[in-house]
């Protein structure tokens, strides 16, 4: 709690995003805007079937088209070039296709138009196979196999967990509820579509400009790709240009990147691959759809006794990171509210549908939808007020949850109280109006998914008091540039504008595991702070000699270095830096710091403190349901979050508002419509995002719990905004009109059908 009373100069200030002016002037260069000399344009041909054998591909006509430089099929892909975390997915398929988005060929040509025309000239002969589209059906023994060599459609994953004794706890429970919930495919809808530009230099080293949230891990993937191509001991430089949104969609490397590399190598020219919007809908990954069975119980006083959850996840045709979302789902399942006995099994099942990836919240929104809907049902059954019920079971600092999560700072109770204060839960004045509440827990201090959860930072000061900081962290619009600048400026007594944040170039920036798990403020922030502290120490040591004062008495503030209690002994920091530089035995003030949090990988028993700290929140919604049309209007929304400390409230609100609206889409309107594996609504007319017309009034109270390990007390806030949104809305609809919708999205059709059933 050391920071609580501290006055901050830069931390806590609403400093506009550092690159916002460039973007406002239209000067920021996105992948779409990159043009290199001799650049070719790549395009991908996708499968015509959800499941089929490729009998024959004839590319001769495409190759003969003037302007075409290369045509590749699965036969041209090196055997060991595979994608996905289990490395089972070649960037162009041969033999069998397992979903509509499977790549069957690719071309590079001198213009996008010629490349498109060449795709039309590729003749593919398929033998269509029976597809399987229902994951529960795919688990049955007589189901067609998506991948013949695997013998089963069920992935070998370890999600079979039992903490405590659920059977005993159930017997001893006074009240038990049980139900089934489903969530469907939704997609990121980044406004800038996916893309990459790959080029090889004369020594066959690769540079790739790509939309990625994981420059360092992408570099590793591409190095492996080069190795598979027979290019050993080469260098890979990953540069992320400005990107038009991430939201988890760029947490893996994808076929289009690998194909750009293959084409660039085949042609020895730069190759640009940029998706159009239809392709973005059809060939990028979704949020993992789930079928959730949940049973929870409580004693007479409302204390939770157990939680038992079973899930079936539609894995689609291939395995990407979506298959690991149960590891994050486990967090709310084991640790949202205090509950000692927990059981969780999850099965990921191959189907011939599209496959899933990380998306903001990474499984947490799905799990929390079921948990918080069910909590409302349990509170009602126990005859306890729904808000009171949540307070009875609230998490608290000092708690260790069954999964082994160590709760250090916890503002859940304050968040619930804050929502109660801002929203009138008793208001039943109008017909069809109702209120709902739902809470969240999320990782707030990194997440140890890999061997390292670290981030590096290199800080150098010039002769004039300006700082360049090279961070491993990645800004994708969320504001890591500001967070880094404000933390460094605070520590060194400078202004945010004095700090130049360089990120997302693997030739220049240190390693980082990526912009995921709401970890950047905490982990990259601590890396930057660590580097700043080292430089500060050097400044203090130098000034100590200059002023003949102990180093501890040297302060840095307002771009000045001065002696505590003796402010006339001072020097502008630029002057001091020049003195340090241009003295005999001169010294440039630089430092590096690698911060790897002391969190744990979950071992074989699936226990461990995966994050240094956890973020909490509570959301409240007031809705009006039109019983004639089934339409839901969100009248008021309150999203209270425990963020440790708000480094920049302006950007923090942006994360919360954006998260909430994404969550409202998840709750009410968004759905990738899939018919026998084919996506039917690959455009913004039919995929219903919230527009400016649908915008909702949102209040975003901030609870500061000053986390002991966070940089200046901060915890992560990137994802929480969209985690409890769907259950808050579902609970409000139930409160309004007495129907509980258990399948997302909650469309007017579903509400009308439920009302009809209820009213007879």
């Amino acid at each position: 709690m050391s920071n609580t009373k501290r006055e901050f100069s830069v931390v806590g200030k609403r400093i506009p995003k550092l690159d916002a002016a460039q973007k406002a002037m239209g000067r920021a260069a996105y992948i779409q805007d990159i043009k290199l000399p001799q650049m070719l344009y790549g395009k991908i041909l996708y499968s015509k079937y959800a499941s089929a054998n490729i009998i024959k591909i004839d590319t001769s006509k495409a190759r003969a088209l003037p302007g075409v430089h290369a045509v590749l099929t699965g036969e041209d892909v090196p055997e060991k070039m595979k994608m996905g975390f289990i490395k089972d997915n070649p960037p162009i398929k041969k033999g069998k296709v397992s979903c509509f988005r499977d790549e069957v060929a690719a071309v590079a040509a001198i213009s996008p138009e010629i490349a498109k025309k060449a795709l039309d000239l590729i003749e593919v002969e398929y033998e269509e196979l029976e597809g399987i589209f229902d994951p529960e059906r795919a688990m049955e023994k007589d189901s067609p196999l998506v991948h013949d060599h695997l013998k089963s459609n069920v992935l070998k994953m370890p999600w079979d967990i039992h903490y405590g004794d659920v059977e005993k706890a159930e017997k001893e429970s006074a009240f038990v509820v049980e139900d089934r919930f489903t969530t469907t495919w939704v997609t990121h809808c980044c406004m800038g579509t996916s893309g990459a530009v790959a080029l090889f230099d004369a020594s066959e080293n690769l540079t790739i400009y790509t939309n990625t949230q994981i420059p360092s891990l992408a570099q590793k993937d591409f190095l492996e790709a080069l190795k598979a191509m027979g290019l050993k001991n080469k260098r890979v430089r990953v540069i992320k240009p400005t990107i038009g949104g991430g939201f988890g969609s760029k947490l893996d490397t994808y076929a289009y990147e690998h194909i750009a590399i293959l084409l660039a190598y085949a042609c020895r020219k730069p190759v640009k691959m940029v998706f159009d919007r239809v392709e973005e809908f059809k060939a990028t990954s979704t949020r993992q759809p789930t079928i959730i069975y949940i049973k929870q119980g409580c004693d007479k006083t409302g204390k939770l006794t157990f939680r038992d959850m079973r899930m079936v996840l539609d894995n689609g045709g291939h395995t990407s990171w979506g298959a690991t979302t149960p590891s994050v789902m486990l967090m709310p399942i084991s640790s949202l509210y205090t509950v000692k006995n927990v059981k969780y099994t999850a099965k990921c099942v191959y189907t011939n549908n599209t496959y899933s990836q990380a998306m903001r919240g990474y499984g947490n929104p799905q799990a929390t939808f079921a948990i918080e809907s069910s909590i409302d049902m349990l509170a009602e059954k126990a005859g306890i007020d729904r808000i009171e019920f949540r307070k009875i079971n609230k998490n608290h600092a000092g708690e260790e949850t069954p999964q082994g999560l160590k709760i250090t700072s916890c503002g859940l109770a304050e968040c619930i109280e804050s929502v109660e204060k801002e929203l009138d839960f008793k208001d039943k004045s109008e017909k069809g109006v109702g209120t709902g509440i739902a809470s969240l827990i999320h990782v707030g201090g990194g997440a140890r998914i890999y061997g390292s959860d670290g981030c590096g930072a290199i800080l150098k000061m010039d002769d004039y008091g300006k700082v360049d900081i090279f961070t491993g962290g990645t800004d994708m619009g969320q504001g890591l540039d500001n967070i880094t600048a404000q933390i460094v400026a605070e520590e060194l007594g400078l202004l945010a504008e004095d700090i130049n944040v360089v990120h997302s170039d693997t030739d220049i920036c240190p390693w980082d595991v990526g912009a995921h798990a709401s970890r950047s403020t905490f982990v990259a922030g601590n890396a930057a702070l660590g580097a700043a502290k080292k430089v500060k120490k050097k400044i203090q040591d130098f000034a100590s000699k200059l002023f003949e004062t102990p180093a501890e008495e040297i302060e840095l503030k307002d771009k000045m270095v001065f002696v505590t209690g003796n402010p006339e002994k001072n020097m502008p920091i630029g002057k001091l830096l020049r003195k340090a530089h241009f003295s005999p035995g001169g010294n440039m003030l630089m430092a590096e710091h690698f911060y790897d949090p002391d969190n744990q990988n979950m071992g074989k028993e699936l226990k461990g403190n995966m994050s240094m700290t956890y973020s909490f929140g509570a959301h409240g919604a007031k809705v009006k349901v039109d019983e004639e049309t089934g339409k839901v209007e969100v009248l008021e929304y309150v999203a209270a979050h425990d963020v440790g400390r708000a480094i920049n409230p302006l950007l923090l609100e942006g994360q919360v508002y954006g998260g909430v609206v994404m969550g409202l889409g998840y709750a009410l309107t968004e759905e990738v419509t899939v018919a026998n594996g084919e996506i039917m609504n690959a455009n913004f007319r039919d995929y219903k995002l919230f527009t400016a017309k649908d915008a909702v009034k949102i209040k975003a109270p901030v609870i500061e719990t000053d986390d002991k390990d966070g940089p200046f007390g901060a915890k992560g806030i990137g994802e929480p905004g969209c985690v409890p949104t769907a259950p808050a809305i579902a609970n409000a609809i139930y409160n309004a009109v007495g129907v509980r919708i258990k399948d997302l999205p909650i469309t007017p059709e579903k509400i009308l059908a439920a009302l009809k059933e209820k009213n007879g």
Partner: protein, 174 residues
């Protein structure tokens, strides 16, 4: 240099070309275009004005919004040939020659109206068309004017606040 040969190499009839004249951000422009080009293609791919973005190519997202004769249009649906004789404003023309941002640009910066920034040029152009026409636009009118501009980052609230703040700053600086 390649693009000009495209149609010929495709073995198709060479498209018609037309020379059009228009005003672009205050400059008088004369440009030989192919008749099938969209205004977006002309601006971005031919003239290198990358500030105008393509988000969908189908008139659904508003990222490509520019102002033609005071009206906000989706330049991905607007044929370049129709621009003959018009006055066009793009995001590149908003800031003053001394570098001062237009009040809308400044207020989007100051109020958190920009995160990833991909929708921002289109958002700002739609907002400008609105305020030029209706300097006192209320929240509902702002929402209506921006209904065709999708933003996935901000939840729209900071964007509305940006437009309202720009109103107070006096709308135009021209």
């Amino acid at each position: 240099m390649y693009e000009h040969n495209t149609s010929e190499q495709l073995g198709e009839t060479l498209p018609m070309t037309t020379t059009i004249s228009f005003s672009l951000n205050g400059d008088k422009i004369s440009y030989e275009i192919k008749d099938h080009w969209t205004l977006l293609h002309l601006l971005r791919e031919e003239m290198g004005l990358i500030g105008t973005k393509e988000g969908c190519g189908n008139g659904e997202c508003g990222a490509c919004t520019v102002i033609v004769d005071k009206l906000a249009v989706n330049s991905c649906l607007y044929l370049a040939i129709e621009a003959d004789g018009t006055t066009i404003e793009t995001i590149e023309g908003l800031a003053s020659t001394d570098g001062t941002l237009h009040p809308l640009q400044q207020s989007f910066v100051d109020n958190g109206g920009i995160q990833c920034g991909f929708c921002s040029p289109g958002m700002i152009m739609s907002s400008k068309a609105l305020l030029d026409e209706n300097p006192d636009a209320n929240r509902e009118e702002i929402q209506h004017a921006l209904a065709g501009n999708i933003c996935r980052c901000t939840g729209y609230i900071p964007i509305f606040e940006s437009v309202e703040a720009a109103k107070k700053m006096g709308g135009q600086n021209e």
